[in-house]
Symmetry: C2
Subunit: 341 residues, 2 copies
């Protein structure tokens, strides 16, 4: 049995075509101390960009995953974010404008989630930037263990680890790392991280006005992507303990960290799942980490890489070492992630 | 036409009766640097409570509004939170246990949202604590301009301002304020703040397993309470610009701040509305503030006082002065609000 879709979109919007621009204007208005908006190029910039002598970080992708990426622009994280239309890659010109705006002379790192459109467009933008004399390195995130190849992806999808890459590589750049250093730590985070997501409902994009996929009212999509791409299987909803056990097995079976490893455990909401459930998931997750001799010495729980109002959650596990832990703890001043002086 | 309710609850839970305890265990596990959980009394405590010589702040209320209140426990904000069952007041014994656990000898402030059960139980707890020699002051929040009297309330409901009261009074206590000082600034924030909420969907409590109220698929509840209490009227969904204009009018017509006033503008998600829409609302709100000669010098945008997975949003406006601004900016280290050294 499928849930009857509402005939009217239940959203606070004006016109579907204006959602991204109007939301960015709001982001800029709410956080003038942290970011500024280049509305013409549809780019979110760190307020004081370019920072002379610092490696700059640029990311981007389709909108609808907020706070990713615009909410992570600021000191200690991204220098710029390029939001596309909802669930649509930004364009190379946009990425080029961002890259030029933030280059402080030490090169620019592009952090690219593994979706075919994003990969192709960031590649073109990097070539154009290099033609203009800007040194660019690119790091691809592909942490989703659910499936190989998918609706918009060859290989594994880039999901939750992207948040951690942006934070940790951002701290490395802030501490004076070279472009090679910053790219290397970004790749290390991606290699040491794995994710898995589960959806209980679909989301509705403003342009479509109807659910991205149909799902029965007692079903979940096990291994869902952040655009509602199919996962491993459709199955009946189960108790959280069972769902989390299977998610943890999928992640830890693939990452295979040795006993005694410290990890960062990241429980992410896809948008429509309340925090009371995310913490309940975290509680279940700690049991599985404990069984495998792992300790979550750092955590992140909340809505950080979302799929509009989709009910669902993902888990990301990052194997830590002293370097990554120190970079995670370093100050960060962005709209969505903020700590330290 | 009403949306067909799913026959199975779409939630990450085990048993409905265990949701609150299991979620609190997760909160404690995720943030051992900030809080600890007294599971026997169902209380969230600041990790280093009691802080000798500091006025302690205790709040609480039904669960289902996360991160309120447990997510606001930590340095610079609450010393303890007492979560009840979902949408159910905590009990006096729980509040007494919290009060005793955090009293550092300088007295304890109870911050109470105006719901009949909460008011009655906090009053009893305060009397019991005073019988044990602890000085207690109480501050009631009642900022919701939507309706006088409601399903669970005589007078106005306490909603979004509660978050700002907890932050600002917490900073006052941290800076060495006496119990009178801290209570006075808490009352000032409540008096200078007003809120208004709109719901697009109902939430589903774990115990009920079905929507709290029925709402048509093209309707909104204008003036909703945080438990789904009725507001001023049920009407058709409109463009965000129109909805926000009416919300702003309701708030500013009641608060009536003079031109030139600086305000804190708080756009709060009720749980199921994505951040892209909350920032779009913020953008609309800034236009109305500007028209009235008001400037939002501080902002807060996100899910801070929720109604499980309800789609909807509330706006809170607080008229600032130098004291309130400085206390807002002071460091805070809690799971859900964190900045400064």
């Amino acid at each position: 049995m499928s849930v009857v879709a509402p005939t009217t979109m239940k959203k606070f919007i004006n016109a579907a075509d204006d959602v991204v621009q109007e939301s960015l204007a709001g982001l800029g208005a709410a956080h003038p101390d942290l970011v500024r908006i280049d509305a013409a190029n549809q780019v979110v910039l760190r307020k004081d960009a370019p920072v002379s002598g610092k490696v700059a970080l640029v990311s981007g992708g389709g909108s609808g995953h907020e706070p990713l990426h615009g909410g992570f622009v600021g000191k200690g994280m991204l220098d710029a974010a390029c939001p596309g239309a909802v669930f649509t890659s930004p364009v190379p010109d946009q990425m080029l404008a961002a890259t030029k705006a933030v280059d402080g002379g030490a090169g620019v790192l592009h952090i690219v989630k593994n979706y075919t459109g994003d990969v192709m467009n960031f590649k073109l933008a990097a070539e154009m930037a290099e033609d203009e004399g800007i040194q660019v390195a690119s790091v691809l995130t592909n942490d989703d263990v659910a499936v190989e190849d998918s609706l918009y992806t060859a290989g594994r999808r880039g999901v939750g680890i992207t948040v951690l890459v942006e934070k940790i590589a951002g701290a490395k750049a802030e501490s004076g790392g070279t472009l090679d250093d910053v790219a290397a730590v970004a790749r290390k985070v991606n290699e040491q991280g794995r994710s898995f997501g589960v959806a209980l409902t679909s989301c509705v994009t403003p342009a479509a006005g109807s659910p991205t996929f149909d799902i029965g009212d007692d079903e979940m999509e096990f291994g869902v992507g952040i655009h509602g791409e199919p996962g491993r299987r459709r199955e009946k909803i189960k108790p959280a303990a069972e769902i989390v056990a299977e998610m943890a097995d999928a992640i830890l079976g693939d990452l295979d960290p040795s006993r005694g490893t410290d990890v960062l455990a990241f429980v992410n909401g896809l948008g429509g799942t309340p925090l009371i459930e995310l913490y309940l998931i975290y509680n279940e997750l700690t049991k599985h980490l404990h069984e495998r001799g792992l300790t979550a010495t750092r955590s992140l729980v909340g809505n950080y890489i979302t799929s509009l109002e989709m009910a669902g959650a993902s888990i990301t596990i990052l194997a830590l070492d002293d370097e990554l832990t120190a970079l995670w703890d370093a100050p960060v001043h962005t709209p969505a992630l903020r700590w330290g002086a």
